[in-house]
Symmetry: C2
Subunit: 486 residues, 2 copies
């Protein structure tokens, strides 16, 4: 209940509190807020409805008087009745136990908090991992629509592995980065996240362990944990994850799969060196350890093209290669892909068919046009230029405001700067104070429970003016926290 999508009408002759009362009553009577539902707090309601707290209070009091709502100690205000359940002798269905018993884990509270805060007006999102809306190619997307007449879009159920035209275009695209593959070894998915989801339920079982970089994006989502797998973080150095430690951790904690983000890692920005890639692939072969190579940031290099993917050297089919259009063209397309051994793609395609019958044909069609018209490469050139400028400016801002209190490496691509805060201050306090001042942070603990003294900065989303404001304000907040500590 982040946003009600409704506000009282200030021009109406019906008093505001009455309108609110009727609105809430409607929700209850229609069963949208069934008995047991905890309604938003008075403060939240007054924020969401843009009215005084006292207006909310009188509406809620009236509903309590009518026997529909009641306050619970420490539990906020809940729906306790509706006209029908007053009449019915039976106690109503308790959705709460259902909502809590699903096997799928809810998002981490911090992430839920971030998701909610992203909708606050005027908030500066200092860590958001996507392109700013004005970097998204609205104009080019229009050009693509105008081409709809050239090729009939298939409106029926999609092919199991995805549109053949798109898979063919992708095989060409992958060829350019050294990956020799054919359309039958490619599976189209609804974003890279879904690739991971399918791998978790299709190739592993409860109790399997996944080795990964420490920290990692993968810790911020629950795909593997919700399917009953455990994640084992392996330390990294400046060249990426360390093969000798991969072996050691595998021996110690088990390891059924290795998940890596070798190019412009999320959240550290690290680019795995060419030598490290070769060593890691050799380790994978020697250990018979399948590798998921998540390469969604590869095309966003800012200084030099990165070394070829591990997949390009993989002659034994040990590597599942994952890519996506989300970070380059549009996350809204929800188009990603996996390239790997055909029997594995067959298995994952079968599961995909069983969970959502394939990805949107419109999106697949648009993705194929992006690749086959060359618009993709043109757009990349522009985005790289913009991102490079943003990265350089952000680094300057950090030098200006965080010299001495934080350390960082300069990323050579992607979106992220992994900021190490040197003085030991409470990151929870930093997060909350920043939020109160309109700055939303991504704390390091989302990506690694032990990364308490880190935050992920992204230079892809906020405008440079916002960056400047946020970074300077953040340094003031930090200084304040440091001083108070003493």
């Amino acid at each position: 209940m982040k946003d009600l999508g409704w506000k009282p009408n200030r021009k109406s002759h019906v008093p505001l509190h009455k309108q609110i009362e009727e609105y809430i009553k409607g929700k209850i009577l229609k069963g949208e807020w069934p008995v047991g539902t905890r309604i938003p707090s008075q403060r939240q309601l007054s924020d969401m409805l843009e009215v005084n707290r006292s207006t909310v209070v009188s509406a809620v009091d009236e509903l309590a008087a009518q026997g529909l709502l009641a306050g619970k100690k420490g539990g906020g205000t809940r729906v306790i009745n509706n006209t029908w359940s007053v009449l019915a002798a039976d106690p109503p269905l308790d959705w709460d136990t259902y909502v809590q018993s699903g096997t799928y884990k809810p998002n981490m509270p911090t992430i839920q908090e971030i998701n909610r805060a992203e909708f606050h007006p005027n908030i500066i999102r200092l860590g958001t991992g996507e392109l700013s809306p004005h970097l998204l190619p609205h104009g080019q997307m229009h050009k693509i629509w105008n081409r709809t007449s050239n090729r009939q879009i298939s409106l029926g159920y999609p092919e199991p592995k995805g549109d053949l035209f798109l898979r063919t275009a992708l095989a060409d695209h992958l060829q350019r980065i050294g990956i020799q593959t054919t359309p039958s070894s490619i599976l189209i998915v609804s974003g890279a996240l879904q690739a991971l989801q399918l791998i978790s339920v299709g190739l592993l079982h409860r109790g399997s362990s996944v080795l990964l970089e420490k920290p990692s994006y993968l810790n911020s989502v629950h795909v593997f944990q919700s399917a009953g797998m455990k994640l084992v973080g392996v330390p990294v150095d400046q060249e990426g994850i360390q093969p000798s430690l991969v072996c050691k951790y595998k021996r110690q904690y088990g390891g059924d799969l290795l998940y890596i983000i070798p190019s412009f890692h999320n959240p550290t920005g690290i680019l795995m060196s060419e030598k490290r890639r070769h060593d890691l692939l050799a380790t994978s072969e020697q250990q018979r350890l399948p590798v998921v190579e998540d390469d969604v940031y590869r095309d966003l290099w800012l200084d030099n093209p990165p070394p070829l993917p591990l997949k390009s050297h993989d002659k034994n089919g040990n590597v599942l290669y994952v890519g996506s259009f989300s970070k380059t063209v549009s996350p809204g397309l929800r188009i990603g892909w996996i390239a790997g051994p055909e029997p594995v793609m067959d298995r994952l395609a079968d599961i995909k068919m069983q969970t959502d019958y394939g990805s949107s044909s419109l999106s697949q069609w648009a993705a194929a046009e992006w690749l086959s018209t060359g618009l993709y490469q043109d757009h990349l050139n522009q985005v790289r230029k913009e991102l490079k400028y943003r990265r350089n400016s952000t680094i300057k801002l950090l030098e200006q405001h965080f010299g001495g209190v934080a350390s960082w490496s300069v990323p050579s691509g992607g979106f992220y700067i992994w900021l190490h805060i040197i003085p030991s201050i409470s990151m929870r306090e930093l997060f909350e104070t920043a939020l109160k001042e309109g700055i939303l942070l991504n704390p390091g603990t989302i990506y690694d429970r032990d990364a308490d003294q880190y935050i992920r900065i992204s230079y892809s989303y906020a405008s440079l003016e916002e960056m400047e404001q946020a970074i300077s304000r953040l340094s003031l907040i930090m200084n304040d926290l440091i001083n108070r500590r003493e």
Copy 2:
């Protein structure tokens, strides 16, 4: 490996068997067919590549001589080596154990067989549950593209519950069938199948039981079973599932959820009566049994509009209402929805964000245009007319060819006729003989293990000429089986 997407070039000076040898070798060396992969049989290869069996044999023999392939007793031909693994001392990674250990169940063999057969050229698909491509609204979809300039399509990550404009249009749409709801109680999903998937992992746990009609579409997919739930089929009569039996089965086998398809049921075509809807809702309240009302065929009534949904009478929020554009506008859109209590929608939205970050923005945009422009209603009128004609003609064909040997009810909407074959013949033989003669059937056992003497006929997909051909040939095959039995 249903389709290789490649055929040898008959115009080339390279002999066909040599081309095939090089092609297969390429697959092996690139790691697309890793060691252990079972390659298609010689018969399948000769079908897929459209060459003589002997051509395939000489290519495979040559590869076996080179040490890349080997026949296994009863196990077909497998990849046993590639140049690299010959050099490497270590045995290669065994993907097979991975493919078999995923928690998600593979599709039923019959369904995999059907999925494969659908790609045979010239096959008549007598049971396919979708609109024939020429009933899909290509022209109208073009009109919608031309409107892209009216409203900016959001290209960023989608909102958790889906595009607000679409949810608003859906709230209006649902209002017309008596469902009072607001956008915050609606969740957009990638098709109704994903709605079921989210419900399974979000609200139930391993060991939960789901009550459902016997037979049911739900038995043909694995969403609940793969998440560790069991399905309990409850007998139906001409008015739909029987409330007293729902209570009885719940007592006997447990029941955490009731899944029903009250309008133009898949596969029986049954329309639940108005009285039955009221009784069932009362049972749900009395038993505190949440209901999933899958209403994807509602708008496809052919004679009279169906009774209002159970959801329209649901004042306590017991019902989760599921709809989709797949059966009416386009399955390729992959747009469906759930309407239900807000805390439940919040929970499911949270999981959706964790599995695929939302549905395609393009599809959501197109769906909203379909609803808000009125094109949807126009299109429905046309589709209904077409389907009615198809239903009537199909019933005539059945009367003509199946009188005495089969029985059926005339559906008043949707796609399906549930054909009961009276003489006890081997349905496996019927399926296989029909397939050899180019007719693909959906056997009843897909929808109910005990429905051995049924097949699902769909009048939505094949053309009427194909219908006529297939039904008359099928009756000959049946007579033949009956005679041979004696």
